[in-house]
Amino acid sequence: MGSTIVEKIFSRKCGNEIRAGEVVMAPIDGAMIHDITGPLAIQKFSEMGGDRVFDPGRVIMLFDHQIPADSLEAAENHVFMRKFAKEQGIFNYDINEGVCHQVVLEKGRAAPGEIIVGADSHTCMYGAVGAFATGIGSTDMGFALKFGALYFKVPETIRASVSGKFQKRVGAKDLILSIAADIGADGATYQAIEFGGKTIEKMDMAGRMTCCNMAIEMGAKAGIVPPDKVTWEYLKGKRKMKPFDLSSDEDAVFAQKRSYSISDLEPQVAVPHNVDQGVPVSKVEGTPIDQVFIGSCTNGRYEDLAEAAEVLGKKKFDPKTRVLIIPASREEYLKALENGLVERFVKAGALVEAPCCGPCMGGSFGLLAAGETCLSTSNRNFKGRQGSTEASVFLSSAATAAASAMKGRITDPREV
């Protein structure tokens, strides 16, 4: 009987055969904490009698949710974490680099075959480089910081095979919204989702990140794309590693195999208030919107911004619609700046903010009032997620968001 890529990652780490369903205390290669969940993780680490973290070089710290400090409490949390970083010798990216998940990947802090935990649910994004990465709470993180290991119930895997060629202005976000609608908000609970097939093989790293990022929206413990040429190319200059084979065996046991053919896929929009409520854009076209947010770990990369700029052309955004554009990291921001995207967005009427989570989790700025509607490229449209529980959030790709921002209503990006 063969093994899934997830079983192989755990087996390689431990040097013995580990199967889905088994509970194992596995060593971890990285632990990520940020300004929201980090202070509590540090507190728990101390309460557990933690003195020194297991390996300061494997702890990734940064601030992204409430930056620059948007309240006195946030400022104090930042100070608390900076102090801990200094005491422990942890490198702290502080407020300078951007959204945690983007930063972890672009700094090469996740690599094929590694096991990484993060005190944030979208940690599953690192599966884009073939790591097993999962989101955990602060107490589990305190444990991980102390021992460098954590209990894992090794998940079964759903294999999602994707074939076909995307239509123009349709891409990874539309795919993952349609997969979420198919699998459902809890359809992959306690399982991993492995993305494969010709479409994924051809997909760039940005798209793979978008897909893996949203595995949690189906309840999954991890999303993963087996490392291939695209992955190793991405890792060049980030990690000194020799490429090696890591993929599921053909005779591996999967919980489910699902196939998606995407040649006819329309742009997708998830309607309020759940991520699995994806519908073709044609179903909601014309819905008036007050705010558009292009950014987040899901879709704030240069590729997303370039897609938005391509849709925008030399035109302007609708003056009655607030358009917030937030690159996912400093590196992505610089690329956008150097290629003239920032100037184009600002001239078109958008606010381009410094890299951070922005309105995605409704804790910082860009909140919605009761009765308002936002179209967002982020990952969650839960009631109250971006402000009032009487506001509505729709989710889409950057292309759909840009087209909609130009019209002030939800618009098919293929029609502008």
């Binding site: 088994e22 107490t139 809890d186 609970t189 309840g219 989790m361 409704g362 529980t389």
Partner: protein
């Protein structure tokens, strides 16, 4: 002990909205639990009350503020048809017992409820509903009184050993 009944897919943003995440004190968090979703909850919840929900309770963000906001109001048990993974572990780690009850959807809001963990059922208005035991490897953490207590005296952990499922 009364039932606070919620539906399916109750996410952690609903349990404690993002704007309160700079708070870590359970009592303070509890003042904002379900704010905007069910405003009377925070004012009326009492020690020992039980939150009952449908499928996928606690989905979304990994914020541990969610089970802390429940504990701060005196809730030490959530009964649901199913739980999201991160919430399930967080709850056990901090001392809220997440109990799977396949018929939780049949329990009504405001009902009086009693729990018999040993025999594996809850009783609501004369009717009994079966509940499932937590996975054995998590039971050790519960028995210790949460993950902090479990880990406090450990110097090292048995890396790469398998546990009972």
């Amino acid at each position: 002990m009364r039932v606070w009944k919620f539906g399916d897919n109750i996410d952690t943003d609903a349990i404690i909205p993002g704007r309160f995440l700079t708070i870590y004190n359970p009592t303070e968090l509890a003042k904002h639990a379900f704010e905007g979703t069910r405003d009377e909850y925070a004012k009326q919840v009492r020690e020992g009350d039980i939150v009952v929900a449908g499928k996928n309770f606690g989905c979304g963000s990994s914020r541990e503020h969610a089970p802390l906001a429940l504990i701060g109001g005196g809730v030490r048990m959530v009964l649901a048809q199913s739980f999201a993974r991160i919430f399930f572990r967080n709850a056990i780690n901090v001392g809220v017992l997440p109990v799977v009850c396949r018929d939780a959807n049949l329990i009504s809001d405001g009902a009086k409820i009693s729990v018999n963990l040993k025999k594996g059922f809850v009783e609501v208005e004369g009717k009994q509903f079966a509940i499932e035991p937590v996975p054995p490897f998590m039971q050790g953490i519960i028995d210790a009184g949460g993950l902090v207590a479990y880990a406090r005296d450990l110097k090292e952990v048995p890396v790469c050993t398998k546990s009972q499922r």
